[in-house]
């Protein structure tokens, strides 16, 4: 590395890469070389910036100019205009959804200005493949401080003081968890990182692993020191090839630099780290199933107790934390536990990363202090609902979580407040739902997922979720029976109490919370055979209002199954036997003559 006057950062997260950011990077490098700028400007590939909706993203430093939706031909223009002539390419600047004003600078974007990015501080700012860049951001300083200035007991105490709680969803005090493992006798112990992120719509762990892998490695080394472990595993699903690639590269670099391995920094502390690829079973995110999988057994949960802190991986005391939890450790040790505890709300300290998806303008990765309201996340940071439609609910916590409605918009986010409202913090998936989403159908979608992922070891989960799913499918097809709602509640409650592991214990949550807040939608399906949101295909009919139709034939062309007939300038007609209710005609009709009910 040499000193350059300008650094051009190109996002290399999975979202931007699939949008073609590698081509953009190549074009920038070629353009810079062709214009003789390669001695003064460098191009760096970074991890995810979080604003995936606007990708591929390019940021030009030192000014911090933020370019969005950059295509290779735009990259050429950035080189010839901005880099060569100092002129900002206005048309590529981020434009806020609500106003059309262009926002030139990274830190002025409303999407970022409301966030507090502690865990994500390096994501999108450094080259994740460069150990030097991590070190420039105080990397491995915390490990050095801990190894030379603190006893393992002090580290555990600090973790307790910080108030950090499990970010994978459980919300158990990390310091307490570490203490159990530290006190557990035995010469051999393990630390494990749970990177088996499988919730639909969740991608915070992936972004962290891809954008700042050394932070997780450093956190695990600190944890290993505190608990007396000398070996660690990162269990990462094989569907995250980029994360695995960057992890392996970072572990290799850290070993070469003597930051992993034997006698780290000359202190006599030893720690080796392995990556274990999972085969993509959702249940392997459950800690005991995950450990079975590392051991080469079938990924099924074991009954607890004994807890992993007593008998974990290969029956040795083990501690398992989620990616986001580990990513916070080094910063807590570097800045001190009080610094971390300063952020937050009541018993939930620090910040939380959410994957914001669904019917919201700015989908992406968002980090806010605990205590931020859902309204701030969805409307201020998320930029509101797409197309100005009406907000209906958020599904928080993925398939294990629940939905919250408009009345909860001003609820400060914390482990306790979400649980009280029937949802859970979960790993941090936040799916925004608008008026056109059917809540019964959404509950069916999540239950279908957990049902498919149920490992089958215990009966309540294996059989119970199947029965619940059968009922939900029946309701969405218009064949619901009066007793279905009671049966769903009965089954759901039983499955929650009787299942062996977290998967079954939380699987009914989406059904139970939608029943709690949107019971009228279930009743409309069952009693009136009507889907109020107009989403369940079996319950809607699409018709053309002959009084409004002018016979423009647009719908005929849009219909994929040729179900619409009629002559030009005459009202058209939909053949209900052929119609697949896709709604394509509704979208294209310029006269709003087509009704979906």
């Amino acid at each position: 590395m040499a000193t350059f006057r300008s650094h051009v950062l190109v996002c290399g997260g999975t979202g931007c890469t699939s949008g073609g950011s590698d081509k953009v990077l190549e074009t920038l490098r070629e353009g810079i070389k062709a214009n003789g700028l390669d001695k003064e400007i460098t191009v760096v590939q970074t991890g995810c910036h979080g604003m995936c909706e606007a990708g591929p993203i390019v940021i030009v430093y030192p000014e911090g100019t933020f370019y969005t939706h950059v295509k290779p031909q735009d990259a050429k223009e950035i080189v010839t205009e901005h880099l060569l002539k100092g002129r900002v390419v206005e048309r590529l600047l981020y434009k806020e959804a609500m106003h059309s004003e262009a926002v030139p600078h990274y830190n002025e974007l409303p999407f970022y200005s409301k966030q507090v990015r502690l865990t994500l501080r390096n994501c999108g700012y450094i080259d994740p493949d460069s150990l030097e860049e991590y070190i420039a951001r105080d990397g491995y300083q915390a490990l050095a401080k801990v190894l030379t200035e603190k006893t393992p007991e002090q580290v555990v105490e600090d973790m307790k003081t910080s108030g950090l709680r499990g970010r994978g969803g459980g919300g158990f005090s990390t310091g307490m968890k570490w203490m159990f493992c530290a006190k557990s006798p035995g010469p051999k112990k393990y630390v494990i990182c749970n990177a088996d992120e499988g919730d639909p719509g969740a991608f915070m762990d992936r972004s962290l692993l891809e954008g700042d892998p050394h932070a997780i490695i450093e956190g695990m080394a600190i944890g290993a020191y505190a608990m007396g472990a000398d070996e660690g595993y990162i269990y990462c699903r094989a569907e995250y090839p980029l994360a695995i690639k960057r992890l392996l590269k970072s572990i290799g670099d850290a070993e070469e630099a003597g930051l992993l391995g034997e006698n780290i920094l000359g202190t006599g502390f030893n720690f080796t780290l392995h990556v274990k690829e999972g085969a993509g079973a959702f249940v392997c995110g459950e800690e005991t199933a995950l450990m079975n999988s590392i051991e080469g057994k079938r990924g099924m949960p074991r009954p607890r107790p004994p807890f992993p802190a007593i008998k974990g991986l290969w029956e040795k005391p083990s501690n398992i934390n989620n990616v986001e939890t580990w990513a916070n450790v080094a910063q807590i040790m570097f800045h001190g536990p009080e610094w971390y505890a300063n952020y937050g709300y009541e018993k939930s300290r620090g910040t939380k990363v959410f994957a914001l998806t669904g019917k919201v303008n700015n989908t992406g990765l968002v980090e806010v202090p605990m205590g931020t309201t859902i309204r701030e996340v969805v409307f201020d940071i998320g930029g509101g609902i797409i197309g100005g439609k009406k907000f209906k609910a958020v599904q928080i916590g993925g398939p294990s979580g629940g939905c919250l409605t408009e009345e909860h918009l001003d609820l400060p986010i914390s482990y306790e407040s979400l649980t009280a409202a029937g949802a859970i913090m979960g790993s941090g998936g936040l799916v925004v739902v608008d008026e056109e989403t059917c809540m019964v159908d959404m509950a069916r979608f999540f239950l279908e997922f957990t049902q498919r992922e149920s490992c089958g070891k215990c009966i309540p989960c294996r059989e119970g979720t199947k029965k619940m799913l059968d009922i939900l499918i029946r309701i969405t097809e218009g064949k619901g029976r009066e007793e279905d709602i009671d049966n769903l509640i009965y089954l759901g409650t039983q499955i929650k109490t009787a299942s062996l592991c977290g998967l079954g214990q939380t699987a009914p949550n989406p059904v139970l919370t939608t029943l709690r807040y949107f019971r009228h939608e279930y009743e409309a399906h069952i009693r009136e055979k009507r889907c109020p949101a107009g989403a369940c295909k079996a319950l809607i009919t699409i018709t053309i209002d002959p009084a409004k139709c002018v016979g423009c034939t647009k719908c005929t062309k849009a219909c994929p199954v040729k179900a619409i007939s009629g002559t030009v300038k005459q009202p058209h007609l939909i053949d209900q036997d052929l119609c697949i209710k896709c709604g394509a005609c509704v979208e294209v009709c310029p006269f709003k003559a087509i009704d979906k009910k």
Binding site: M1, T3, E40, E256
Partner: protein, 123 residues
């Protein structure tokens, strides 16, 4: 990468890495070169190279070298602005590469404006 054996070596590597990534935030001190078509034609790039060379020769920290487009004073190009924290931005014009080391030394480092080369103080 060479092995980091102790805290001292980690500290050194950190300082080196910080310098190398310093361009990722706006420095407290700024040197801004006019590189519109007019600036390029008048030799602005040579001015920029001279500025970068002087900054690295002196090992100056917290200085960002930025570019800007045409500001409408094409007849005075090449232009170079110096911004020191808390002080007004000063624009120098009609520069030759050999003027640059003096402006960097007198103004950027020591805070004495090189009056004979100043063509404007926009704010």
């Amino acid at each position: 990468m060479p092995k980091i054996n102790n805290l001292e070596e980690l500290k050194k590597l950190r300082e080196k890495s910080i310098t190398e990534t310093a361009a990722r935030k706006e420095g407290k001190f700024r040197v801004i070169i006019g590189l519109g078509t007019c600036g390029i034609a008048a030799g602005g790039r040579k001015i920029m190279e001279a500025a970068m060379e002087e900054i690295s020769k002196r090992g100056l920290k917290d200085v960002s070298v930025e570019t800007t487009g045409c500001i409408g004073m094409c007849q005075n190009e090449p232009l170079m602005d110096i911004v020191r924290p808390g002080e007004p931005r000063v624009t120098y014009g009609n520069l030759k590469p050999e003027d640059v080391p003096r402006i960097i030394a007198d103004h950027l480092v020591n805070g004495n404006v090189v009056e004979e080369k100043v063509i404007g103080r926009p704010e």
